[in-house]
């Protein structure tokens, strides 16, 4: 039981680092953005996991229920998801412009062109 509960946090750590790996090691800019969104998802998962209370239910008040999970992390993450997609869109916009200017979205090719 203890370990199963910790598993949520471990998955958070692993997902975080999978996303981070994509950001630092992959040269394709779109792959980096996908990695960034995995990283983001890991943080969302951590927040929501911490908001959960054993035996609680979703914080939509109902007669006859007294224990609810914490609404605050949910509020933060709910807005963060929408902000996340907007910023990802901005990132994709920048990648598209880079492609148009440099003819490539591979990091090393872009750096090569910059050196010329």
């Amino acid at each position: 039981m203890e370990l199963l509960g910790l598993f949520y946090y471990w998955v958070f750590a692993i997902l975080l680092m999978i996303g981070f790996y994509a950001v630092i090691a992959k040269t394709n800019l779109i792959k980096k953005l996908i990695g960034l969104s995995i990283f983001q998802a890991a943080v969302f998962l951590l927040y929501i996991t911490m908001g959960k209370i054993d035996g609680g239910t979703a914080p939509i008040l109902q007669d006859g229920v007294s224990l609810y999970s914490n609404p605050l992390p949910q509020v933060l993450i709910l807005t963060a998801i929408v902000v996340g997609i907007s910023t990802t869109a901005l990132g994709l916009g920048i990648v598209v412009r880079i492609k148009e200017e440099y003819g490539s979205i591979e990091e090393h090719e872009i750096q090569e062109r910059d050196r010329q």
Binding site: G19, I85, I105, E106, H108
Partner: protein, 329 residues
């Protein structure tokens, strides 16, 4: 107990999917897997009692996010060529950090512990005060709209700014602006060749739109609210654009209108705040909007959720059209 096992199973699938996304050479396959990743994420959120968050993830992740990534892929090419650089160093850093973070988790409060520090502060206060001060069942909407209205205002302006940023980046120097697509008769007519999806899709669009409105205005009572509704409404218009072509969608909702939506929603939100100031209270304190404070809260929350919904719809559609118009250069 068994629910936790379900959660663990879903989380394992989540990790496998994430690994596959990073390993996949074809970006197109990676984007499809991202859709699955988001479905898994939402199922997990739901198991963790976060119905509103799951709804947001459902509306954003599986539909809009896939569409945006595909829009970008269409402009940049779908095959990854570079592979990885300095793989061993990166792997080393990542492994060590993972182990450190996992070591740190042993000090975290037990999963689901009601006495964890997170639950000792404002969280429980919000739950206690929501029936008394705001009197709507959905505590998440109450916190989002009223208790933490400043936060949400900030988030709406971030979304607004990101939308403006995309428009600045992608509207410049296109041979064909959305305006031209809007006016001209488009040779490109969407999924003309797929008769069945077009017929069924057309049938579904009004229902998706209607459901978006339901989520918008039912947000006080059940899972939902402006952020989710904005994404669902935007998704219905995007479906129309996919089925009938860019031109048809832009004729129905021209770019000029969309820009007004983007600004109008944020203005409506700010306007509610200013109105409450003019009525002699603090910024975004809705209690003064009606003679009865609780009725005032209800009016305020409905108005600001509407503002949020309008801005999110506008921004997502602007971004979609900006990418789509760029593709036709």
């Amino acid at each position: 107990m068994i629910i936790i096992l379900f959660g663990v199973f879903l989380l394992t699938l989540l990790v496998i999917t994430a690994l596959a996304i990073v390993r996949s050479d074809s970006l197109f396959a990676a984007v499809i897997l991202t859709g699955i990743f988001s479905l898994l994420m939402a199922a997990n959120f739901f198991l963790l009692d976060a119905a509103d968050v799951a709804l947001t993830e459902a509306a954003i992740g599986a539909g809009i996010s896939t569409v945006l990534f595909l829009g970008a892929l269409a402009l940049t090419g779908e095959q990854e060529r570079g592979g990885s650089k300095k793989r061993l160093v990166a792997l080393g850093v990542v492994t060590v950090t993972t182990l450190i973070v996992i070591y740190a988790t042993f000090d975290k409060p037990r999963f689901g512990d009601a006495d964890a520090p997170v639950h000792q502060h404002v969280g429980s206060w919000y739950l206690e005060k929501t029936p008394e001060l705001i009197d709507i069942p959905n505590a998440v909407t109450a916190v989002l709209g009223s208790f933490r209205g400043y936060d949400t205002l900030g988030e709406v302006f971030v979304v607004f700014t990101a939308g403006i940023g995309v428009l600045f980046l992608l509207s410049a120097r296109t041979a064909r602006r959305p305006k031209d697509i809007e006016a001209g008769d488009e040779p490109d007519q969407g999924l003309r060749h797929y008769l069945v999806p077009r017929v069924v899709g057309r049938m579904l669009i009004p229902f998706i739109f209607l459901f978006g409105l339901y989520v918008q205005f039912h947000g006080d009572y059940g899972p939902g609210g402006g952020f989710q509704a904005g994404a669902i409404v935007a998704a219905s218009v995007i479906l129309y654009a996919l089925l009938e072509g860019e031109g048809a969608a832009l004729r129905a909702l021209p770019m000029g209108v969309l820009k007004w939506l983007v600004a109008g929603g944020a203005l409506l939100y700010g306007g509610v705040g200013v109105a409450s100031m003019l009525l002699g209270s603090n910024f975004l304190d809705y209690s003064v909007l009606a003679s009865d404070p609780i009725a005032g809260q209800h009016i305020g929350i409905i108005l600001i959720e509407l503002g949020v919904g309008i801005t999110v719809t506008g921004v997502l559609l602007c971004v979609f059209h900006a990418f789509a118009a760029r593709g036709r250069v």
